[in-house]
């Protein structure tokens, strides 16, 4: 009932949301990320470990560019609008997804012929793993932006999410062997284990995003249930 009511608002929200989305940051990030990737794969063939490293660096650049995705100068006004915060932010993420997909296809195209990510061969292992990593990093960027936008007064938003993501990536690169996230494809057991953790990270970030997008002034589910029971009596 509640969800249907929210979804009914979507057609009306699409255009204003698309207008307010900072596309320039995403586009500039995608261009810079692909340029870096091209630069890193100039000398071919690139060995698998090196190629994976370059793809990861370019993914981090694009994820950083996604940090201001949720920044909305008009949020002070739109808070009072009927659509929930989750709906408005979710819509932004959904609108940005095709661009993210295009960027990833661009990544695969740039690396075609450079090694194990070649579009012509498409061996499932590295491509699937790196796609998962890219999705988890983008989810982490957006979830961090959502959490950093929670303070009511002067939320830091994307300004804090970018550095926070950078710090998390730096920490993740230093993780000890049993918890390693940035595994090399040569070490298959470590690669498998790492991508199970990446999947868990992606799920955790999706949940964190949903939790961070609760309406600050809205009633919690528990309180709503209690009030409904009281009304029924």
């Amino acid at each position: 009932m509640l969800i249907t009511r929210q979804l009914r608002l979507v057609p009306a929200l699409v255009r204003p949301t698309a207008r307010a989305t900072p596309w320039w940051a995403l586009l500039a990030g995608a261009a810079l990320s692909l340029a870096l990737l091209r630069l890193g794969t100039l000398e071919r063939p690139v060995e698998p470990g090196e190629l994976v490293r370059v793809v990861r660096i370019s993914t981090v650049v694009f994820a950083l560019a996604a940090a201001p995705l949720l920044d909305d100068p008009s949020e002070v006004l739109t808070r009072a609008a009927p659509g929930s915060l989750l709906l408005r932010r979710g819509l932004r993420v959904a609108l940005a997804l095709p661009l993210g997909g295009a960027w990833w296809l661009g990544t695969l195209a740039v690396t075609a012929g450079a090694g194990p990510l070649s579009l012509g061969q498409l061996p499932p292992g590295p491509v699937r793993g790196l796609t998962l990593e890219a999705a988890a990093l983008l989810a982490a960027s957006v979830a961090l932006a959502a959490w950093c936008s929670r303070p009511a007064e002067q939320p830091p938003g994307g300004a804090a999410a970018g550095p926070a993501l950078l710090a998390l990536v730096a920490l993740a690169s230093q993780l000890p062997a049993p918890l390693v996230l940035f595994a090399t494809p040569d070490d298959q057991p470590a690669w498998q284990g790492a991508h199970e953790r990446w999947l868990a990270l992606l799920a955790a970030m999706a949940v964190a995003f949903a939790l961070a997008c609760r309406d600050p002034g809205g009633a919690s589910a528990g309180r709503r249930w209690r009030s409904r029971r009281a009304t029924a009596r």
Binding site: L36, I57, A67, P68, D71, G157, A159, G162, P163, L166
Partner: protein, 598 residues
């Protein structure tokens, strides 16, 4: 009722001022520096840098001239944090949408930008304090060699300042919250990529374009050298960084708009010119005289060393490394004191040496290396031949481990000393004959019994070799096994097929870097470990009784086992058969081993 209010009195202000008629730049810079130091990116960066500084050089005796260079890389997280924090500071009015309000104050935008730039002194100072504290900790730990170069020590804070100015400039030219983190990633790619991959394609000089130039040049060459051979243009590099920071800062102030445009442009042009001159100076390869000195120190270290005699041993260290002599002496004296009383102590020279160095390709060409078209660095060893030291010279390295690894280093040095005290000098070279037979057993026993932790180190070296030969991983449980237990575990295993060209089995991975002196026989190590299980005094008495016979070059390990009452030693043929050889292979390998004197 009249609605006209009386006009407000306006006091004319002659120029933008702070308190007491002074410009507000300095008070603003002070306030901003406090805010910068308390900002989360700077705090996190400082913590990460402090952790890296604490972890750096761990496990080795400190050399301050190298540690000062190491501080630059450890301070990079703080530089990254400063870049982000300075960018956020300069973007504050934009994020809070107070830009319009600020234009109404009497402090113009360029003064505020100048204040942001001056405030960067605080994190730079913090970086300097962290680096100095690290060196003080090393000095306090004792036995610190060398003297830190002030320019190298100042480079870390200069990198922090430069990073901060980049953050301020980015806020002026690309005012977005994305810019600073992306700049950090790009800077990290340049910082980590150029000194490793870039130098292979464009030459060694290229690495001086990165802010913190690492000591390591080639992954296969130990970078530790005495300070006078490092050949790092640290002064020019510091000038380059300072001039670059000035130029970037001037550009940021110019971007904020100022009335003094001509002066600022002149300053910007001057800073850019200074940066270019300093850059050109640092990109010059070391002079021919410096290259000659490096070659001379490689081939004839004695020309650069002062020796200190203690008893029969002279200790010769490169300038600055004198504090390490006590550490070497504590190990060297052991085997000599354990020699029987009636045996004359040999006069030895313990000499510090380096086994290789990385060299600029252009210099290598001037030293006679043919041009291969590859601009990457070359090994000094590939350009000039190492001179064999005199037989009485015991080489020691440019590094000395501390902690658990020190035990192995002590045993290795003691074995080099004992070999000179007990054995006849053998020819050195690419493939010297193994150290084997009875004198080798005596020397190994002498080294291990007289060194703190030597017994355990030799036993573990033997167990590791036997386990790896049998295709087993040297697990902690396996390392605790006695040689007899290990033999039982490994006797039916022949994981590695027998190589008829492998020669007499030797103790591998023991005393790395000194294999050209000859490796110790595995069976000899086995016998020495069996002797070490007996009381030292009893073995010493037995050795003293049969000293001349046991240390004579022709005495076999079988004779030693017989004399000292050890279990019978297998013949060479039996030894090779146990290692998976066929009868014919064992006979051929045994003949080859006998030719080697084993």
């Amino acid at each position: 009722m009249s609605t006209h209010a009386p006009p407000l009195s306006v006091r004319p202000v002659a120029r933008p001022t702070g308190g007491r008629g002074r410009p507000a730049t300095l008070p603003l810079a002070l306030a901003e520096s406090r805010r910068l130091l308390c900002s989360l990116p700077v705090l996190c960066g400082a913590i990460a840098s402090a952790v890296l500084l604490l972890r750096a050089d761990g496990g080795w005796l400190p050399a301050l001239h190298l540690a000062a260079i190491g501080t630059q890389r450890s301070l990079l997280p703080l530089a990254a944090g400063t870049l982000v924090a300075a960018n956020l500071t300069a973007l504050r009015s934009r994020r809070a949408r107070t830009g319009e309000l600020e234009t109404s104050t009497c402090t113009p935008a360029w003064r505020r930008t100048l204040a942001y730039l001056l405030a960067l002194a605080a994190p730079a100072l913090l970086g300097g304090v962290l680096a100095v504290l690290k060196l003080l900790l090393l000095v306090r730990g004792g036995r610190a060699a060398g003297t830190p170069d002030a320019f190298e020590l100042l480079t870390g804070p200069a990198v922090i300042w430069l990073a901060g100015t980049l953050g301020v400039l980015a806020a002026r030219w690309l005012p977005s919250v994305v810019t600073a983190p992306v700049l950090v990633v790009l800077a990290a790619v340049v910082q980590l990529g150029l000194p490793t991959k870039g130098v292979q394609s464009y030459g060694l000089a290229l690495r001086w374009l990165v802010p913190a130039v690492p000591l390591e040049v080639s992954p296969t060459v130990e970078p530790e050298l005495p300070a006078f051979l490092l050949g790092r243009p640290s002064g020019a590099h510091l000038a380059f960084l300072a001039a670059a920071a000035l130029a970037v800062g001037a550009a940021a102030v110019a971007g904020a708009g100022t009335g003094a445009r001509t002066r600022l442009r002149a300053g910007l042009a001057g800073a850019v010119a200074l940066a270019l001159v300093a850059c050109a100076a640092q990109l010059q390869p070391p002079s021919r005289a410096e290259a000659d000195r490096l070659v001379a120190a490689f081939q004839h270290p004695e020309r650069f060393q002062a020796c200190h005699r203690r008893g029969p041993v002279a200790y010769c260290a490169f300038p600055g490394y004198e504090p390490w002599i006590d550490v070497w002496a504590a190990t060297v004296e052991g085997p000599l004191e354990h020699l029987p009383r009636e045996v004359a102590r040999p006069r030895l020279t313990v000499r510090q040496m380096f086994d290789d160095a990385a060299l600029d390709r252009r210099l290598a060409r001037s030293l006679g290396l043919p041009d291969s078209g590859n601009p990457g660095p070359v090994h000094l060893l590939g350009v000039v031949a190492a001179q064999d030291p005199a037989p009485d010279v015991v080489p020691v390295d440019m590094t000395w481990p501390t902690g658990p690894a020190e035990r192995d280093a002590r045993l290795a040095l003691a074995s080099r000393v004992a070999a000179r005290a007990v054995m006849r000098p053998s020819p050195r070279g690419e493939e010297p004959p193994p150290r084997c037979q009875a004198p080798a057993v005596v020397a190994l026993w002498l080294a291990a019994s007289s060194t703190h932790g030597g017994k355990e180190a030799l036993r573990q070296a033997l167990v590791t070799n036997v386990a790896l030969d049998a295709g087993l991983a040297p697990t902690p449980e396996l390392l605790r096994a006695s040689p007899a237990e290990l033999q039982r575990i490994t006797q039916h295993r022949s994981a590695i097929s027998f190589d008829p060209h492998s020669g007499y089995p030797v103790l591998s991975w023991f005393d790395p870097g000194h294999e050209d002196e000859g490796e110790w026989g595995l069976e000899e190590a086995n016998l020495a470990v069996q002797l070490l299980e007996r009381p030292d005094a009893a073995v010493r008495a037995q050795l003293a009784r049969h000293w001349d016979e046991l240390t004579a070059p022709g005495t076999t390990r079988q004779e030693l086992a017989h004399r000292l009452g050890l279990p019978p030693v297998p013949s060479l043929e039996e030894l090779f058969t146990r290692r998976g050889a066929t009868r014919a292979q064992a006979a051929a390998a045994a003949r080859a081993a006998r030719r080697q004197g084993c």
